[in-house]
Symmetry: C2
Subunit: 430 residues, 2 copies
């Protein structure tokens, strides 16, 4: 398989062109690939999905605000006109740093320069059994599954004869008070209180309980405390029960326990933690915090200047010494940075200085009218922050079409409180 | 379950209000429900899905032009403000005409007036094993499955080392030259020749073969012959191989046989025939052509003036004596008609005259620039027909939002040849 690929590629020039392989087409990998479009090398992008996913808006798919295709763009479509680049749809299963090949099952893809940008997956902090009873939110399928579960819970509550059962079905627990948890809680509250308000006859969706559980002392721990307080107050105004300093001690299909206290719920959503993809295992290196791979200041693996690790997979310290957060801007800047190093190497130029993250700010939204924006000096809350948040997200969505559709979906939701994607599809979990 | 439902309903008035049950929220059922919004009765709409589906555009989802939510609207959302109506999400499993109840598994929903609008399903003309090896197109899930299969076929062809295998993967066979087959063939041709044209490196999607097989002597048999000829020519211009008078004699996962001739293909799409839903079985009546239930001129079941059958489930003769086709306008007009009868009955007015279908015309589109429109006197082809087709479909899509989004998706596709929903999700069938 790869033999053929290699031959086809090497036909282009009598001396073999260097091969740059990028594993993962998330924000980091895609940013690197796009910056490498003019280099005299073969660029190969490997991803297990055919689409790049705009993960920050995944919660909108899970709460029926957007359709999957609104926040996903085909990788081949993005890179199709980039003549030096080809895309392989396949799941990397390992790396052989000695033979310099990436493994996709039996298939071997050789590299001269390698960029590992495989992202993160959910982590359950030693409670892997919780994965079975909670809904995670990392992929399109997980988002549509969550959407189905939430909408079906209302349907079953409408049919339930038993008051306790109805209460359990109408109780939604979100574990984790980071941006994903906060945004999900706000969107769920609006779904129940507005979009679904008139849809049922036996239940009142407005009575649904949405409980956001955070083990730490405040929501949005990476934001300044004032913005955390604002988010908590804004969520409470939407009717969300915010429980701070509350650690989940048990979790099963009928609810969660916080020490002595029990919350019965049929829908428990996991937004509490992520760990890096298994790239550390592949390379046989000892992972750092969160399974991330410690790298040198130029984002290479110690002893392997030809291997770069970026995004959620890399452990890099920021200015204050704390690890850089696993957010899209970090990954994008790192992707662009390693592309510059690779381009310089191939053209014989000097390497750029060590990677430095330029933090343009943090944003999180709470429902359809409020958000918090932390841009260092400028800290915004409320409606103006919501506007900044909306514009920023629409701007960064890949593809002009997606921007238009998302803008229209938002405008529509804003004007009508309706949710356009409120359809139940897929598996029958009744 | 239904006891509670009944009690809740009967609390409204000391004397029990009549109960009108509509099974199926397709074009027919929904049209009936909407027309009954002012009657003094309890209207119950039962559907196994939570959404009404605009089936005429399902082929656009299957070919990555539209997202599922663009052509589906939540039934509760459509009927939510209609105070006399409630919606039950559940699959009807039978009807007891003596006890006057609809069965949903163990649950029983009593009726005074019943409207059966359960639609059609695919029919394989005695070759039920073909269902396993072909892709049908009746539901959202079938459309996204077809989309995944088609897109994955291109991905596998890109990776295939064997020329024969590549050819099989790039051969798409559509069985059935009615509107669905014609529209699918045109959309697939454009997907391969335009949207995907630059996406691959080892294959040229433009070389994909799209073969449309029709057993009869011409495509679009219900249209005037001149329009059939136009459609055939338009498809051939798009590169579709149209085989007329060709009956499929065998069908397996590697292709189809037309008598002696064999076409190797990994993707065979079934657009050849439908049969009515199993309502005839439920009622214990002998079904007519296509499993449809013969009804009286007022669309009631003989001997049961309280049971109406409409849409694809009903066998009704048109002016020429031929059965009315299973298309949306017939179902919608029948739904409105039976609503009028029911309203008249409940208010003591005389029944309207026998149902008469007013045929406003037939439309089918071939790719992004041509269509055929048959409105009796007016027969259009080409670009002007395409415009009429687009406007008609956008107009009839339920919900203002959907109209906007679909209009934008089309405009976008038209201007750029791109397909917005080109994402692969769900099951891994590699």
């Amino acid at each position: 398989m790869d033999c053929m690929a290699e031959q086809l590629l090497s036909q282009n020039s009598p001396t073999k062109r260097p091969q740059v392989v990028i594993v993962g087409a998330g924000f980091g990998g895609l940013s690197a690939a796009l910056k490498l479009r003019h280099i005299d090398a073969d660029v190969i992008v490997i991803d297990q999905r055919n689409h790049h996913l705009f993960q920050p808006l995944l919660y909108q798919v899970a709460t029926a605000g957007l359709s999957p295709a609104d926040i996903a763009a085909p990788i081949r479509g993005i890179l199709g006109r980039q003549a030096n680049t080809r895309v392989i749809l396949g799941a990397a299963t390992g790396i052989d740093p000695v033979a310099r090949t990436v493994l996709i099952g039996e298939r071997r893809v050789p590299y001269d320069q390698l960029v590992i940008a495989t992202g993160a997956r959910d982590a359950y902090f030693g409670h892997d059994d919780w994965a079975k009873v909670t809904s995670p939110l990392k992929t399109i399928e997980e988002a549509t599954t969550m959407r189905r579960r939430v909408l079906i819970a209302f349907e079953h509550a409408e049919d339930a004869e038993d008051a306790d059962e109805r209460r359990q079905l109408l109780t939604f627990v979100i574990i984790g008070g980071g941006p994903t948890g906060v945004e999900l809680a706000g969107a769920l509250a609006e779904l129940a209180r507005m979009a679904l308000a008139r849809d049922f006859r036996h239940i009142d969706p407005k009575t649904a309980r949405i409980i956001l559980i955070e083990a730490g002392p405040r929501l949005l721990a990476t934001f300044p405390p004032r913005l955390s307080d604002f988010a908590t107050a804004a969520l409470r105004r939407l009717g969300v029960e915010v429980r701070l300093g509350a650690a989940v001690t048990a979790c099963d299909k009928n609810g969660v326990s916080l020490g002595d206290q029990r919350i019965e719920s049929r829908t428990v959503i996991w937004a509490a933690g992520v760990a890096a993809s298994p790239a550390a295992d592949w390379l046989g290196v000892a992972p750092g915090k969160g399974g991330r791979i410690p790298v040198l200041p130029d984002l290479t693996l110690p002893g392997h200047p030809e291997i770069f690790v970026i995004g959620d997979t890399a452990l890099v310290s920021g200015t204050g010494g704390a690890p850089l957060p696993g957010v899209a801007p970090v990954a994008k800047q790192q992707g662009a940075y390693v592309a510059r190093i690779i381009a310089n190497r191939l053209s014989g130029k000097a390497a750029p200085a060590a990677f430095r993250y330029r933090d343009f700010g943090n944003l999180a939204t709470i429902g359809r009218k409020a958000a918090v924006v932390d841009m260092g000096i400028i800290r915004l809350t409320g409606r103006i922050a919501w506007l900044v948040w909306s514009l920023a997200h629409i701007y960064f969505l890949i593809g002009f079409r997606n921007r238009l559709i998302v803008a229209m979906d938002w405008l529509w939701s804003y004007l009508t409180f309706q949710r356009g994607a409120r359809i139940i599809t897929g598996g029958d979990e009744s």
